[in-house]
Amino acid sequence: MYKEEILEHFKNPRNKGVIEKPSVRVSVKNALCGDAITLTLAIRGDKIEDIKFSGIGCALVTASASLLTEHLKGKSVKILNDINDTFVLKLLGGEITPARIGCALLPLKALKQIKK
């Protein structure tokens, strides 16, 4: 589960921070462990110009948020409709134990609120 890439994103998370005056701001909590994550996005036209995450999280939450934001930055907002659980797990690259899938998918849970 703790592959080099995940640990590397945990240690040096990409897009960590908060966008001032964001177009969208969403937050989620994992009631089981108290982890909480906030995503802020700057959207111009239909392009995600910038996306950042903040909050507290374990290695999986942090790496997942880091990889996801890296993937989304600069893309069209339409991509938000295509991102699902399978995609995120693939992005993390492999075996996540059942008890930890909730951690891996926490940032996606926040993203899904945007679609609403």
Binding site: Y2, L32, D35, C58
Partner: protein
């Protein structure tokens, strides 16, 4: 001795991720000895029937076995009478039961205040908030008034001067845990009860979920009014809990659950309740569970709680000494072993408790991580989660050595 005890627990010989199981999550639930598992299967194989309802042989056998556990439970906690024992589904239900009955009784008035502590488990906070919340709220409580909270100091010990200052004629109930499920703090219940009774007319409820399994309890000498605990944290099955309540209080409480088995007479315009404790147990009880719990009590009596307590003290002391030597590791709660139960919560710098638990699991070591249903306490400590190792009678020093080795491996993986 421990070798013989371990043989009674078949699950301890299981392998997890190709490693020997090291089970250190006993504060969540304990493993079950063969005697308990067999008592449950023997009941279903040979004696299953509903209790107190039939005149046939099976029903008589089931009733006798069930009633026997009332006696064992009363003796185990030093209750004055079996009539003071109410079986429910666990500590949570027991406290909810107490709160519901209390709310509708002569002991409560709408202007009353309730005192809890900063170290409480959610199940000893929320039932009381439900009494105090001023409006119906489908999504949560939003207007809780008159809940007072006893502070803890930096060592995780209750500030009794603060308690004293909170007690007034308005205080109606003081709800405290006997042993904290996170900090491990053993609260001085006797002293607290004395203080409450001297300064108010409040009742005292004690959440004993983390205490009864580990040390000899005598509810009469503690002096409290309610005491709640769970079977599954003391070798018994899940789905069984006990609410003990002083007879003179219990007699003044209305029932909270209505149905079969709790009545004397029913008409369409009136009903008369059964005597205590039956008026509090409507519906068919968890018969097999209670019988399994009886077998757990037998097992603990046979082993001896003083031996269990002594063994655990040694383990906790060894655990704290070993963990203290790991750089970057912070232990929460009192470091004075005499003030602490068999729970050690800690954090490791640079490794989230969930990640630590996952790494340990890959080595067959089971610990708990998260806020352990004590979110307000974690807020107070300024952290979102802790890792927690908790012990029971079958744990050994080598389990702690495995834990320490596992933590060192996690440090290596996370390069901290």
């Amino acid at each position: 001795m421990i070798g013989a005890i371990r043989k009674d627990f078949p699950i301890l010989s299981r392998r997890i991720n190709n490693k020997k199981l090291v089970y250190l999550d006993n504060a969540a639930t304990t493993q079950k000895p063969k005697a308990v598992i067999e008592a449950i299967s023997n009941f279903y194989l040979n004696h299953n029937a509903n209790i107190r309802r039939g005149v046939h042989t099976l029903s008589e056998e089931a009733t006798a076995k069930f009633e026997e556990v009332y006696k064992k439970t009363a003796k185990f906690i030093g209750a004055k009478s079996v009539d003071e024992i109410i079986f429910g589904s666990g500590t949570t239900e027991a406290i909810n039961m107490a709160a519901k009955c209390f709310e509708n009784s002569c002991f409560w008035d709408k202007e009353g205040e309730i005192i809890v502590t900063e170290m409480e488990h959610h199940s000893n906070i929320l039932p009381w908030m439900s009494i105090l919340d001023r409006k119906e709220n489908i999504f949560g409580f939003s207007n809780v008034k008159n809940l007072k909270v006893i502070r803890i100091n930096k060592d995780g010990i209750l500030d009794l001067d603060h308690l004293k200052s909170l007690l007034t004629s308005k205080t109606k109930i003081v709800a405290i845990s006997h042993i904290s499920n996170v900090l491990g703090t053993i609260n001085p219940v006797k002293e607290i009860v004395k203080m409450v009774k001297e300064n108010s007319s409040a009742l005292v409820l004690v959440d004993g979920a983390q205490a009864v399994p580990h040390q000899k309890i005598n509810v009469q000498s503690l002096g409290c009014d309610f005491y709640a605990f769970s079977s599954h944290k003391m070798l018994g099955p899940t789905g069984v809990g006990v609410l003990w309540c002083k007879k003179e209080i219990l007699e003044k409480l209305p029932p909270f659950l209505f149905g079969g088995g709790m009545i004397e007479e029913v008409y369409f315009d009136k009903a008369v309740w059964a005597d205590i404790p039956h008026k509090f147990t409507a519906g068919t009880s968890n018969i097999s569970g209670v019988i399994g719990f009886g077998a757990a009590l037998d097992y603990l009596e046979k082993t001896g709680l003083s031996l269990i307590e002594k063994q655990e003290k040694e383990l906790v002391s060894y655990c704290i000494d070993s963990l203290s030597n790991i750089p970057g590791l912070t232990i929460y709660g009192p470091l004075d072993i005499s003030k602490r139960g068999s729970v050690v919560a800690f954090t490791l710098f640079g490794v989230h408790p969930h990640d630590l638990a996952s790494v340990l699991d890959s080595y067959g070591i089971a610990i708990r991580s998260g806020h352990h249903c004590a979110m307000p306490l974690h807020n107070k400590l300024g952290i979102s989660a802790t890792a927690r190792a908790s012990f029971y009678l079958y744990n050994t020093k080598s389990d702690i050595e495995a834990l320490v080795a596992g933590i060192k491996k996690a440090k290596k993986i996370f390069k901290v």
